[in-house]
Symmetry: C2
Subunit: 294 residues, 2 copies
Protein backbone atom coordinates (compact mmCIF):
# COMPACT_ATOMS: atom_id res chain seq x y z
CA UNK A 1 0.00 0.00 0.00
CA UNK A 2 1.47 3.35 -0.93
CA UNK A 3 1.84 6.38 1.33
CA UNK A 4 -1.10 8.19 -0.14
CA UNK A 5 -3.46 5.33 0.61
CA UNK A 6 -1.95 4.73 4.06
CA UNK A 7 -2.20 8.32 5.20
CA UNK A 8 -5.65 8.92 3.71
CA UNK A 9 -6.86 5.65 5.22
CA UNK A 10 -5.62 6.66 8.66
CA UNK A 11 -7.11 10.14 8.41
CA UNK A 12 -10.54 8.87 7.37
CA UNK A 13 -10.55 6.16 10.01
CA UNK A 14 -9.71 8.76 12.65
CA UNK A 15 -12.53 10.97 11.39
CA UNK A 16 -14.97 8.08 11.87
CA UNK A 17 -13.71 7.34 15.37
CA UNK A 18 -13.76 10.97 16.48
CA UNK A 19 -17.26 11.55 15.10
CA UNK A 20 -18.53 8.43 16.87
CA UNK A 21 -16.91 9.48 20.16
CA UNK A 22 -18.33 13.00 19.94
CA UNK A 23 -21.81 11.77 19.06
CA UNK A 24 -21.52 9.50 22.08
CA UNK A 25 -20.65 12.31 24.45
CA UNK A 26 -23.29 14.59 22.93
CA UNK A 27 -26.08 12.02 23.13
CA UNK A 28 -28.48 13.97 20.92
CA UNK A 29 -27.15 15.43 17.66
CA UNK A 30 -25.51 13.54 14.79
CA UNK A 31 -22.91 14.63 12.27
CA UNK A 32 -24.22 15.41 8.78
CA UNK A 33 -21.82 14.74 5.93
CA UNK A 34 -21.18 16.85 2.83
CA UNK A 35 -18.98 15.20 0.24
CA UNK A 36 -17.24 17.43 -2.26
CA UNK A 37 -14.86 16.84 -5.14
CA UNK A 38 -12.02 18.99 -6.36
CA UNK A 39 -12.04 19.54 -10.12
CA UNK A 40 -8.25 19.09 -10.32
CA UNK A 41 -8.27 15.81 -8.32
CA UNK A 42 -9.54 14.42 -5.04
CA UNK A 43 -12.11 15.79 -2.64
CA UNK A 44 -13.28 15.65 0.93
CA UNK A 45 -15.85 14.78 3.55
CA UNK A 46 -17.07 17.71 5.63
CA UNK A 47 -18.97 16.56 8.71
CA UNK A 48 -20.85 19.10 10.72
CA UNK A 49 -22.80 18.75 13.97
CA UNK A 50 -25.12 21.49 15.22
CA UNK A 51 -27.50 22.16 18.08
CA UNK A 52 -26.49 19.14 20.08
CA UNK A 53 -27.10 18.66 23.79
CA UNK A 54 -23.41 19.38 24.38
CA UNK A 55 -21.99 20.59 21.06
CA UNK A 56 -23.46 23.85 19.78
CA UNK A 57 -21.49 23.64 16.54
CA UNK A 58 -18.62 21.50 15.39
CA UNK A 59 -16.97 20.11 12.32
CA UNK A 60 -14.67 17.17 11.68
CA UNK A 61 -13.41 17.33 8.10
CA UNK A 62 -11.13 15.23 5.98
CA UNK A 63 -9.80 15.76 2.52
CA UNK A 64 -7.40 14.07 0.13
CA UNK A 65 -6.50 16.21 -2.83
CA UNK A 66 -3.90 15.86 -5.57
CA UNK A 67 -2.87 17.07 -8.98
CA UNK A 68 -1.16 20.34 -9.80
CA UNK A 69 -0.78 23.09 -7.21
CA UNK A 70 -2.84 26.14 -8.22
CA UNK A 71 -0.65 29.14 -9.25
CA UNK A 72 -1.40 31.13 -6.06
CA UNK A 73 -0.31 28.25 -3.83
CA UNK A 74 2.71 27.54 -5.98
CA UNK A 75 3.80 31.18 -5.69
CA UNK A 76 3.53 31.06 -1.89
CA UNK A 77 5.38 27.76 -1.60
CA UNK A 78 8.41 28.78 -3.63
CA UNK A 79 10.28 27.01 -6.45
CA UNK A 80 9.65 23.29 -6.91
CA UNK A 81 7.37 20.88 -8.69
CA UNK A 82 3.66 21.65 -9.05
CA UNK A 83 2.64 18.02 -8.56
CA UNK A 84 1.25 17.43 -5.07
CA UNK A 85 -0.83 15.28 -2.75
CA UNK A 86 -2.32 16.37 0.57
CA UNK A 87 -4.53 14.60 3.05
CA UNK A 88 -5.60 15.55 6.54
CA UNK A 89 -8.24 15.70 9.19
CA UNK A 90 -9.20 19.01 10.77
CA UNK A 91 -11.70 19.62 13.54
CA UNK A 92 -13.09 22.34 15.77
CA UNK A 93 -15.72 21.76 18.46
CA UNK A 94 -17.68 24.64 20.04
CA UNK A 95 -19.59 23.33 23.07
CA UNK A 96 -22.70 25.13 24.26
CA UNK A 97 -21.76 25.08 27.95
CA UNK A 98 -19.18 27.83 28.60
CA UNK A 99 -17.51 25.51 31.11
CA UNK A 100 -16.61 22.97 28.42
CA UNK A 101 -13.49 24.01 26.47
CA UNK A 102 -13.33 24.46 22.69
CA UNK A 103 -10.95 22.05 21.02
CA UNK A 104 -9.14 22.14 17.70
CA UNK A 105 -7.02 19.43 16.12
CA UNK A 106 -5.46 18.82 12.75
CA UNK A 107 -3.27 16.05 11.36
CA UNK A 108 -1.99 16.24 7.80
CA UNK A 109 0.42 14.71 5.31
CA UNK A 110 1.78 16.52 2.27
CA UNK A 111 3.74 15.44 -0.81
CA UNK A 112 5.26 17.73 -3.40
CA UNK A 113 7.14 15.91 -6.12
CA UNK A 114 9.42 13.54 -4.19
CA UNK A 115 9.40 15.59 -0.99
CA UNK A 116 6.95 14.90 1.85
CA UNK A 117 6.19 16.26 5.28
CA UNK A 118 3.80 15.96 8.19
CA UNK A 119 2.06 18.60 10.26
CA UNK A 120 -0.61 18.84 12.90
CA UNK A 121 -1.43 19.28 16.53
CA UNK A 122 -4.24 19.76 19.00
CA UNK A 123 -5.03 22.67 21.30
CA UNK A 124 -7.58 23.50 23.97
CA UNK A 125 -9.42 26.78 24.54
CA UNK A 126 -11.28 26.92 27.84
CA UNK A 127 -13.16 30.00 29.02
CA UNK A 128 -13.45 28.82 32.61
CA UNK A 129 -10.25 26.81 32.85
CA UNK A 130 -9.78 24.02 35.36
CA UNK A 131 -6.11 23.25 35.98
CA UNK A 132 -6.80 19.53 36.33
CA UNK A 133 -8.34 19.47 32.82
CA UNK A 134 -5.47 21.41 31.30
CA UNK A 135 -3.00 19.00 32.87
CA UNK A 136 -4.98 15.99 31.64
CA UNK A 137 -4.99 17.35 28.07
CA UNK A 138 -1.26 18.07 28.08
CA UNK A 139 -0.32 14.86 29.88
CA UNK A 140 -2.23 12.72 27.37
CA UNK A 141 -0.54 14.47 24.45
CA UNK A 142 2.86 14.25 26.10
CA UNK A 143 2.51 10.51 26.62
CA UNK A 144 1.67 10.12 22.93
CA UNK A 145 4.72 12.20 21.98
CA UNK A 146 7.17 10.54 24.32
CA UNK A 147 7.30 7.27 22.36
CA UNK A 148 8.72 9.28 19.48
CA UNK A 149 11.47 11.11 21.33
CA UNK A 150 11.64 12.96 24.64
CA UNK A 151 12.33 16.21 22.80
CA UNK A 152 8.99 16.13 20.93
CA UNK A 153 6.55 17.32 23.59
CA UNK A 154 8.62 20.32 24.75
CA UNK A 155 9.32 21.33 21.14
CA UNK A 156 5.75 21.01 19.86
CA UNK A 157 4.26 22.47 23.03
CA UNK A 158 6.42 25.59 22.66
CA UNK A 159 5.60 25.78 18.93
CA UNK A 160 1.90 25.68 19.79
CA UNK A 161 2.28 28.54 22.29
CA UNK A 162 4.05 30.62 19.63
CA UNK A 163 1.61 29.76 16.84
CA UNK A 164 -1.69 30.27 18.67
CA UNK A 165 -0.83 33.76 19.86
CA UNK A 166 -2.93 36.87 19.26
CA UNK A 167 -0.33 39.59 18.91
CA UNK A 168 -2.92 42.39 18.98
CA UNK A 169 -4.36 41.03 22.26
CA UNK A 170 -1.02 39.93 23.72
CA UNK A 171 -2.49 36.60 24.75
CA UNK A 172 -2.47 32.97 23.64
CA UNK A 173 -5.64 31.59 22.07
CA UNK A 174 -6.07 29.11 24.88
CA UNK A 175 -3.95 26.82 27.03
CA UNK A 176 -2.12 25.33 24.07
CA UNK A 177 -1.27 21.74 23.31
CA UNK A 178 0.88 20.67 20.37
CA UNK A 179 1.70 22.19 17.01
CA UNK A 180 4.21 21.03 14.41
CA UNK A 181 4.66 21.57 10.70
CA UNK A 182 7.00 20.63 7.84
CA UNK A 183 8.27 17.65 9.81
CA UNK A 184 10.13 15.32 7.51
CA UNK A 185 12.77 12.58 7.97
CA UNK A 186 12.03 8.87 8.29
CA UNK A 187 8.56 8.50 6.81
CA UNK A 188 7.61 5.36 8.72
CA UNK A 189 8.59 6.97 12.03
CA UNK A 190 6.82 10.24 11.24
CA UNK A 191 3.67 8.43 10.20
CA UNK A 192 3.81 6.42 13.43
CA UNK A 193 3.96 9.70 15.35
CA UNK A 194 1.01 11.11 13.38
CA UNK A 195 -0.98 8.04 14.38
CA UNK A 196 0.01 8.23 18.05
CA UNK A 197 -0.99 11.88 18.25
CA UNK A 198 -4.17 11.38 16.26
CA UNK A 199 -5.13 8.44 18.45
CA UNK A 200 -4.49 10.58 21.54
CA UNK A 201 -7.15 13.12 20.59
CA UNK A 202 -10.17 11.25 21.95
CA UNK A 203 -8.62 10.34 25.33
CA UNK A 204 -7.21 13.88 25.64
CA UNK A 205 -10.49 15.71 25.05
CA UNK A 206 -13.55 13.52 25.60
CA UNK A 207 -12.99 12.92 29.36
CA UNK A 208 -12.90 16.70 29.89
CA UNK A 209 -16.25 17.08 28.14
CA UNK A 210 -17.71 14.24 30.23
CA UNK A 211 -16.51 15.90 33.44
CA UNK A 212 -17.80 19.40 32.63
CA UNK A 213 -20.86 18.95 30.45
CA UNK A 214 -23.34 19.06 33.32
CA UNK A 215 -21.67 21.98 35.13
CA UNK A 216 -24.11 24.79 35.86
CA UNK A 217 -23.93 28.11 34.07
CA UNK A 218 -26.12 31.14 33.53
CA UNK A 219 -26.51 34.26 31.44
CA UNK A 220 -23.27 35.71 32.77
CA UNK A 221 -21.13 32.75 31.75
CA UNK A 222 -22.90 32.61 28.38
CA UNK A 223 -22.13 36.29 27.71
CA UNK A 224 -18.49 35.77 28.63
CA UNK A 225 -18.34 32.82 26.26
CA UNK A 226 -19.77 34.89 23.37
CA UNK A 227 -17.24 37.65 23.93
CA UNK A 228 -14.33 35.22 24.20
CA UNK A 229 -15.45 33.43 21.05
CA UNK A 230 -14.69 36.73 19.32
CA UNK A 231 -11.02 36.14 20.06
CA UNK A 232 -11.31 32.72 18.42
CA UNK A 233 -12.68 34.38 15.27
CA UNK A 234 -9.96 37.03 15.38
CA UNK A 235 -7.26 34.37 15.55
CA UNK A 236 -8.67 32.23 12.77
CA UNK A 237 -9.33 35.05 10.34
CA UNK A 238 -6.29 37.23 11.06
CA UNK A 239 -3.50 34.78 11.89
CA UNK A 240 -4.31 31.16 11.10
CA UNK A 241 -2.33 30.18 8.05
CA UNK A 242 -4.61 27.26 7.17
CA UNK A 243 -7.61 29.59 7.07
CA UNK A 244 -6.12 32.60 5.29
CA UNK A 245 -4.16 30.42 2.85
CA UNK A 246 -7.23 28.29 2.16
CA UNK A 247 -9.46 31.30 1.49
CA UNK A 248 -6.79 32.94 -0.62
CA UNK A 249 -6.13 29.95 -2.82
CA UNK A 250 -9.68 28.92 -3.59
CA UNK A 251 -10.23 26.29 -0.89
CA UNK A 252 -13.79 25.23 -0.06
CA UNK A 253 -15.01 28.23 1.93
CA UNK A 254 -17.70 26.45 3.97
CA UNK A 255 -15.32 23.67 5.04
CA UNK A 256 -12.66 26.17 6.05
CA UNK A 257 -15.03 28.47 7.93
CA UNK A 258 -16.85 25.69 9.78
CA UNK A 259 -14.25 26.49 12.47
CA UNK A 260 -16.03 29.76 13.30
CA UNK A 261 -18.24 29.74 16.40
CA UNK A 262 -22.04 29.68 16.07
CA UNK A 263 -22.74 32.89 17.97
CA UNK A 264 -20.27 35.63 18.86
CA UNK A 265 -20.35 39.02 20.52
CA UNK A 266 -17.97 41.95 20.24
CA UNK A 267 -18.11 44.52 23.03
CA UNK A 268 -15.99 47.65 22.83
CA UNK A 269 -13.11 47.56 25.32
CA UNK A 270 -14.47 44.58 27.24
CA UNK A 271 -12.72 44.03 30.55
CA UNK A 272 -13.69 41.38 33.09
CA UNK A 273 -14.37 42.60 36.62
CA UNK A 274 -11.22 42.60 38.76
CA UNK A 275 -11.13 39.49 40.93
CA UNK A 276 -13.93 37.75 39.02
CA UNK A 277 -13.87 34.19 37.72
CA UNK A 278 -13.73 35.69 34.24
CA UNK A 279 -10.60 37.66 35.03
CA UNK A 280 -8.93 34.44 36.18
CA UNK A 281 -8.79 33.34 32.55
CA UNK A 282 -6.15 35.99 31.79
CA UNK A 283 -3.68 34.07 33.86
CA UNK A 284 -4.13 31.01 31.65
CA UNK A 285 -3.50 32.88 28.40
CA UNK A 286 0.26 32.92 28.54
CA UNK A 287 2.70 30.06 27.97
CA UNK A 288 3.01 27.96 31.11
CA UNK A 289 4.59 24.61 31.89
CA UNK A 290 1.30 22.99 32.87
CA UNK A 291 2.76 19.62 33.84
CA UNK A 292 5.04 21.27 36.40
CA UNK A 293 2.12 23.04 38.12
CA UNK A 294 0.26 22.38 41.33
CA UNK B 1 -2.43 77.54 9.45
CA UNK B 2 -0.44 74.55 8.27
CA UNK B 3 -1.77 71.39 6.58
CA UNK B 4 -1.55 69.31 9.69
CA UNK B 5 -3.75 71.69 11.64
CA UNK B 6 -6.14 72.21 8.73
CA UNK B 7 -6.71 68.51 8.07
CA UNK B 8 -6.90 67.54 11.75
CA UNK B 9 -9.27 70.43 12.38
CA UNK B 10 -11.56 69.32 9.58
CA UNK B 11 -11.51 65.68 10.68
CA UNK B 12 -12.37 66.51 14.28
CA UNK B 13 -15.10 68.94 13.28
CA UNK B 14 -16.62 66.27 11.05
CA UNK B 15 -16.50 63.79 13.92
CA UNK B 16 -18.48 66.22 16.08
CA UNK B 17 -21.06 66.82 13.38
CA UNK B 18 -21.51 63.14 12.57
CA UNK B 19 -21.83 62.15 16.22
CA UNK B 20 -24.44 64.86 16.77
CA UNK B 21 -26.41 63.78 13.69
CA UNK B 22 -26.34 60.12 14.70
CA UNK B 23 -27.37 60.89 18.28
CA UNK B 24 -30.21 62.89 16.79
CA UNK B 25 -31.46 60.04 14.64
CA UNK B 26 -31.01 57.53 17.47
CA UNK B 27 -32.86 59.61 20.04
CA UNK B 28 -31.73 57.55 23.02
CA UNK B 29 -28.04 56.60 23.28
CA UNK B 30 -25.07 58.97 23.39
CA UNK B 31 -21.50 58.53 22.24
CA UNK B 32 -18.95 57.86 24.96
CA UNK B 33 -15.44 59.14 24.30
CA UNK B 34 -12.12 57.45 25.03
CA UNK B 35 -9.09 59.65 24.50
CA UNK B 36 -5.76 57.95 23.96
CA UNK B 37 -2.24 59.12 23.31
CA UNK B 38 0.47 57.56 21.21
CA UNK B 39 3.82 57.36 22.99
CA UNK B 40 5.68 58.39 19.78
CA UNK B 41 3.45 61.46 19.17
CA UNK B 42 -0.23 62.32 18.85
CA UNK B 43 -3.31 60.37 19.82
CA UNK B 44 -6.99 60.02 19.16
CA UNK B 45 -10.59 60.24 20.21
CA UNK B 46 -12.53 56.98 20.03
CA UNK B 47 -16.28 57.56 20.31
CA UNK B 48 -18.53 54.58 20.77
CA UNK B 49 -22.31 54.33 20.95
CA UNK B 50 -24.06 51.17 22.12
CA UNK B 51 -27.57 49.88 22.77
CA UNK B 52 -29.30 52.84 21.22
CA UNK B 53 -32.88 52.88 20.02
CA UNK B 54 -31.60 52.68 16.44
CA UNK B 55 -27.86 51.99 16.68
CA UNK B 56 -26.92 48.68 18.27
CA UNK B 57 -23.21 49.48 18.12
CA UNK B 58 -21.20 52.13 16.37
CA UNK B 59 -17.96 54.02 16.51
CA UNK B 60 -16.79 57.33 15.10
CA UNK B 61 -13.05 57.68 15.67
CA UNK B 62 -10.48 60.29 14.89
CA UNK B 63 -6.74 60.29 15.32
CA UNK B 64 -3.83 62.54 14.54
CA UNK B 65 -0.47 60.84 14.96
CA UNK B 66 3.05 61.80 14.04
CA UNK B 67 6.71 61.08 14.65
CA UNK B 68 8.71 58.19 13.24
CA UNK B 69 7.02 55.30 11.42
CA UNK B 70 7.40 52.07 13.41
CA UNK B 71 9.77 49.55 11.72
CA UNK B 72 6.95 47.18 10.68
CA UNK B 73 5.07 49.98 8.92
CA UNK B 74 8.23 51.34 7.36
CA UNK B 75 9.02 47.90 5.94
CA UNK B 76 5.55 47.64 4.36
CA UNK B 77 5.65 51.15 2.91
CA UNK B 78 8.97 50.79 1.15
CA UNK B 79 12.02 53.06 1.02
CA UNK B 80 11.58 56.65 2.15
CA UNK B 81 11.75 58.86 5.22
CA UNK B 82 10.45 57.56 8.55
CA UNK B 83 9.03 60.95 9.54
CA UNK B 84 5.23 60.99 9.13
CA UNK B 85 1.93 62.60 10.05
CA UNK B 86 -1.49 61.00 9.67
CA UNK B 87 -4.95 62.18 10.57
CA UNK B 88 -8.35 60.78 9.76
CA UNK B 89 -11.87 59.97 10.80
CA UNK B 90 -13.18 56.42 10.56
CA UNK B 91 -16.66 55.20 11.37
CA UNK B 92 -18.85 52.10 11.27
CA UNK B 93 -22.51 52.03 12.34
CA UNK B 94 -24.35 48.75 13.04
CA UNK B 95 -28.08 49.48 13.36
CA UNK B 96 -30.29 47.12 15.36
CA UNK B 97 -33.09 46.98 12.78
CA UNK B 98 -32.05 44.61 9.97
CA UNK B 99 -33.81 46.92 7.51
CA UNK B 100 -31.43 49.81 8.25
CA UNK B 101 -28.12 49.43 6.36
CA UNK B 102 -24.69 49.34 7.98
CA UNK B 103 -22.49 52.24 6.93
CA UNK B 104 -18.75 52.72 6.92
CA UNK B 105 -16.80 55.86 6.07
CA UNK B 106 -13.23 56.99 6.38
CA UNK B 107 -11.42 60.19 5.38
CA UNK B 108 -7.69 60.54 5.94
CA UNK B 109 -4.63 62.63 5.17
CA UNK B 110 -1.06 61.34 5.27
CA UNK B 111 2.37 62.98 5.11
CA UNK B 112 5.68 61.19 4.80
CA UNK B 113 8.65 63.50 4.63
CA UNK B 114 7.65 66.04 1.95
CA UNK B 115 5.16 63.71 0.24
CA UNK B 116 1.44 63.75 1.08
CA UNK B 117 -1.69 61.98 -0.02
CA UNK B 118 -5.40 61.65 0.72
CA UNK B 119 -7.61 58.60 0.99
CA UNK B 120 -11.11 57.72 2.05
CA UNK B 121 -14.59 56.84 0.99
CA UNK B 122 -17.97 55.69 2.23
CA UNK B 123 -19.91 52.50 1.56
CA UNK B 124 -23.30 51.06 2.44
CA UNK B 125 -24.14 47.50 3.48
CA UNK B 126 -27.88 46.79 3.51
CA UNK B 127 -29.31 43.34 4.31
CA UNK B 128 -32.75 44.14 2.96
CA UNK B 129 -31.77 46.59 0.22
CA UNK B 130 -34.18 49.19 -1.11
CA UNK B 131 -33.14 50.43 -4.55
CA UNK B 132 -34.33 53.95 -3.78
CA UNK B 133 -31.98 54.10 -0.76
CA UNK B 134 -29.04 52.77 -2.73
CA UNK B 135 -29.62 55.37 -5.41
CA UNK B 136 -29.93 58.13 -2.82
CA UNK B 137 -26.61 57.13 -1.24
CA UNK B 138 -24.78 56.99 -4.55
CA UNK B 139 -26.41 60.13 -5.94
CA UNK B 140 -25.42 62.16 -2.87
CA UNK B 141 -21.82 60.98 -3.11
CA UNK B 142 -21.72 61.54 -6.86
CA UNK B 143 -22.93 65.13 -6.46
CA UNK B 144 -20.14 65.73 -3.93
CA UNK B 145 -17.58 64.23 -6.33
CA UNK B 146 -18.75 66.02 -9.44
CA UNK B 147 -17.50 69.44 -8.34
CA UNK B 148 -14.00 67.94 -8.37
CA UNK B 149 -14.08 66.38 -11.83
CA UNK B 150 -16.61 64.30 -13.74
CA UNK B 151 -14.18 61.36 -13.73
CA UNK B 152 -14.11 61.11 -9.93
CA UNK B 153 -17.38 59.33 -9.16
CA UNK B 154 -16.97 56.57 -11.81
CA UNK B 155 -13.36 56.03 -10.78
CA UNK B 156 -13.93 55.92 -7.02
CA UNK B 157 -17.17 53.95 -7.35
CA UNK B 158 -15.37 51.24 -9.36
CA UNK B 159 -12.46 51.28 -6.88
CA UNK B 160 -14.93 50.73 -4.05
CA UNK B 161 -16.50 47.74 -5.83
CA UNK B 162 -13.05 46.21 -6.29
CA UNK B 163 -11.88 46.92 -2.76
CA UNK B 164 -14.91 45.77 -0.79
CA UNK B 165 -15.03 42.37 -2.43
CA UNK B 166 -15.00 39.03 -0.58
CA UNK B 167 -13.09 36.78 -2.93
CA UNK B 168 -13.92 33.62 -0.97
CA UNK B 169 -17.66 34.44 -1.16
CA UNK B 170 -17.55 35.90 -4.67
CA UNK B 171 -19.65 38.87 -3.57
CA UNK B 172 -19.21 42.54 -2.73
CA UNK B 173 -19.51 43.56 0.93
CA UNK B 174 -22.54 45.67 0.18
CA UNK B 175 -23.78 48.06 -2.49
CA UNK B 176 -20.57 50.08 -2.55
CA UNK B 177 -20.07 53.81 -2.60
CA UNK B 178 -16.66 55.44 -2.97
CA UNK B 179 -13.12 54.38 -2.23
CA UNK B 180 -9.87 56.15 -3.07
CA UNK B 181 -6.33 56.03 -1.75
CA UNK B 182 -2.91 57.57 -2.35
CA UNK B 183 -4.50 60.51 -4.11
CA UNK B 184 -1.98 63.32 -4.43
CA UNK B 185 -1.58 66.36 -6.69
CA UNK B 186 -2.77 69.88 -5.87
CA UNK B 187 -3.13 69.85 -2.09
CA UNK B 188 -5.71 72.61 -1.91
CA UNK B 189 -7.90 70.88 -4.50
CA UNK B 190 -7.53 67.46 -2.86
CA UNK B 191 -8.37 68.85 0.55
CA UNK B 192 -11.42 70.57 -0.94
CA UNK B 193 -12.52 67.18 -2.27
CA UNK B 194 -11.96 65.52 1.12
CA UNK B 195 -14.23 68.15 2.65
CA UNK B 196 -16.94 67.78 0.01
CA UNK B 197 -17.02 64.02 0.46
CA UNK B 198 -16.82 64.20 4.25
CA UNK B 199 -19.63 66.76 4.31
CA UNK B 200 -21.72 64.46 2.08
CA UNK B 201 -21.73 61.64 4.62
CA UNK B 202 -24.59 62.90 6.78
CA UNK B 203 -26.96 63.73 3.89
CA UNK B 204 -26.04 60.43 2.19
CA UNK B 205 -26.77 58.18 5.18
CA UNK B 206 -29.00 59.83 7.78
CA UNK B 207 -32.12 60.16 5.55
CA UNK B 208 -31.95 56.41 4.87
CA UNK B 209 -31.92 55.69 8.60
CA UNK B 210 -34.85 58.06 9.13
CA UNK B 211 -36.84 56.33 6.40
CA UNK B 212 -36.22 52.74 7.59
CA UNK B 213 -35.79 52.93 11.35
CA UNK B 214 -39.43 52.18 12.11
CA UNK B 215 -39.80 49.41 9.53
CA UNK B 216 -41.14 46.20 11.05
CA UNK B 217 -38.97 43.13 11.46
CA UNK B 218 -39.07 39.86 13.36
CA UNK B 219 -36.94 36.91 14.42
CA UNK B 220 -36.40 35.84 10.81
CA UNK B 221 -34.95 39.20 9.72
CA UNK B 222 -32.85 39.35 12.88
CA UNK B 223 -31.35 35.92 12.20
CA UNK B 224 -30.54 36.90 8.62
CA UNK B 225 -28.86 40.04 9.90
CA UNK B 226 -26.68 38.05 12.34
CA UNK B 227 -25.58 35.65 9.61
CA UNK B 228 -24.85 38.47 7.16
CA UNK B 229 -22.87 40.33 9.80
CA UNK B 230 -20.52 37.35 9.67
CA UNK B 231 -19.55 38.45 6.17
CA UNK B 232 -18.78 41.90 7.52
CA UNK B 233 -16.41 40.35 10.06
CA UNK B 234 -14.83 38.16 7.40
CA UNK B 235 -14.15 41.16 5.20
CA UNK B 236 -12.70 43.30 7.95
CA UNK B 237 -10.44 40.65 9.44
CA UNK B 238 -9.32 38.91 6.24
CA UNK B 239 -9.14 41.67 3.62
CA UNK B 240 -9.39 45.17 5.04
CA UNK B 241 -5.95 46.73 4.84
CA UNK B 242 -6.69 49.31 7.53
CA UNK B 243 -7.62 46.58 9.99
CA UNK B 244 -4.93 44.01 9.25
CA UNK B 245 -2.23 46.68 8.89
CA UNK B 246 -3.36 48.35 12.10
CA UNK B 247 -3.36 45.13 14.12
CA UNK B 248 -0.03 44.10 12.63
CA UNK B 249 1.74 47.35 13.39
CA UNK B 250 0.61 47.89 16.94
CA UNK B 251 -2.39 50.16 16.38
CA UNK B 252 -4.91 50.59 19.18
CA UNK B 253 -6.77 47.27 19.03
CA UNK B 254 -10.04 48.43 20.56
CA UNK B 255 -10.31 51.43 18.23
CA UNK B 256 -9.58 49.28 15.20
CA UNK B 257 -11.97 46.50 16.16
CA UNK B 258 -14.85 48.79 17.12
CA UNK B 259 -15.87 48.14 13.49
CA UNK B 260 -16.93 44.58 14.36
CA UNK B 261 -20.66 43.98 14.81
CA UNK B 262 -22.13 43.49 18.30
CA UNK B 263 -23.64 40.03 17.70
CA UNK B 264 -22.86 37.65 14.88
CA UNK B 265 -23.84 34.15 13.84
CA UNK B 266 -22.04 31.63 11.63
CA UNK B 267 -24.16 28.84 10.19
CA UNK B 268 -22.53 26.10 8.14
CA UNK B 269 -23.37 26.42 4.44
CA UNK B 270 -26.15 28.95 4.99
CA UNK B 271 -28.31 29.48 1.92
CA UNK B 272 -31.38 31.71 1.80
CA UNK B 273 -34.59 30.08 0.58
CA UNK B 274 -34.99 30.39 -3.18
CA UNK B 275 -37.32 33.24 -4.03
CA UNK B 276 -37.22 34.71 -0.50
CA UNK B 277 -36.59 38.33 0.38
CA UNK B 278 -33.26 37.19 1.80
CA UNK B 279 -32.20 35.65 -1.50
CA UNK B 280 -32.92 38.97 -3.22
CA UNK B 281 -29.85 40.42 -1.50
CA UNK B 282 -27.56 38.27 -3.67
CA UNK B 283 -28.51 40.34 -6.67
CA UNK B 284 -27.26 43.49 -4.91
CA UNK B 285 -23.85 42.05 -4.09
CA UNK B 286 -22.23 42.54 -7.46
CA UNK B 287 -21.05 45.80 -9.05
CA UNK B 288 -23.97 47.64 -10.64
CA UNK B 289 -24.43 51.10 -12.09
CA UNK B 290 -27.05 52.11 -9.53
CA UNK B 291 -27.72 55.54 -10.96
CA UNK B 292 -28.65 54.05 -14.34
CA UNK B 293 -31.24 51.72 -12.75
CA UNK B 294 -35.06 51.86 -12.62
Amino acid sequence: MDWRQKTQGYVEGLQDRICAALEGVDGKARFLEDRWTRPGGGGGKTRVITDGAVIEKGGVNTSAVWGELPPAQLAKMGPGPAEFFATGVSLVIHPRNPRVPIVHANFRYFERGDAYWFGGGADLTPYYPVLEDVKHFHRTLKTACDGHGADKYPEYKAWCDRYFFLKHRNETRGVGGLFYDNVTGDREARFAMMQSLGDAFIPAYVPIVERRKHDAYGEREREFQLVRRGRYVEFNLVYDKGTTFGLDTGGRTESILMSLPPLVRWVYDYKPEPGSEEERLTDFLRPRDWLAEG
